[in-house]
Symmetry: C2
Subunit: 107 residues, 2 copies
């Protein structure tokens, strides 16, 4: 049975946590890749190519999960994430779009 | 002549800096008060009632200014800020609205 980690419901999400999660370049890279993917796309945590140690990578995904931005499911040695697109969009409309377009609009 | 501090143009604003600035509760309080005020409202830095030391308060306003969220003008012993509402809205549409409605939508 998958080991689903603790994460807030849509209503429990706090703007402070979501903004803090997205303020980090590595975490924003992960969210941007997921936003630009087909809805429901599952990715392993290693597939984003973050140039960090395993423990730092784990920390980043914990922050994303606890903020409510991603679902994380661990199955043995496979740790996968999906974007909580609908939940985030309902609670913080427009926020994911800012992350999605960031590179294109940067000055 | 007023001493206008360094701040990015609208095009120089970076999403990372704006998110990091808004991730802090005190700084979000300042922006929320300004968003809810009439456009162009000028406020002294002390008028927001932040429960912090003078140096910490100065730091918070420096972060807001360098992110591009506020204009800060120092005239002798009066330090005032205004929200760069149009610039922020043009660069990051919808972001200020999330801060504005935060209390009402929490929980």
């Amino acid at each position: 049975m998958p080991d689903e980690c603790t994460q807030p419901t849509a209503q429990e999400m706090r703007l402070a946590d979501v903004l803090a999660a997205l303020a980090d370049d590595h975490r924003r890279h992960v969210v941007r890749e997921l936003v630009r993917s087909e809805d429901g796309t599952g990715r392993t945590c290693t597939s984003f190519g973050l140039p960090v140690s395993k423990s730092t990578r784990s920390h980043h995904f914990k922050v994303l999960r606890e903020a409510g931005l991603v679902h994380q499911v661990d199955r043995g040695n496979m740790s996968g994430v999906t974007l909580r697109r609908d939940d985030v969009e309902r609670r913080f409309p427009g926020l994911l779009a800012l992350v999605e377009i960031e590179d294109g609009s940067a000055g």
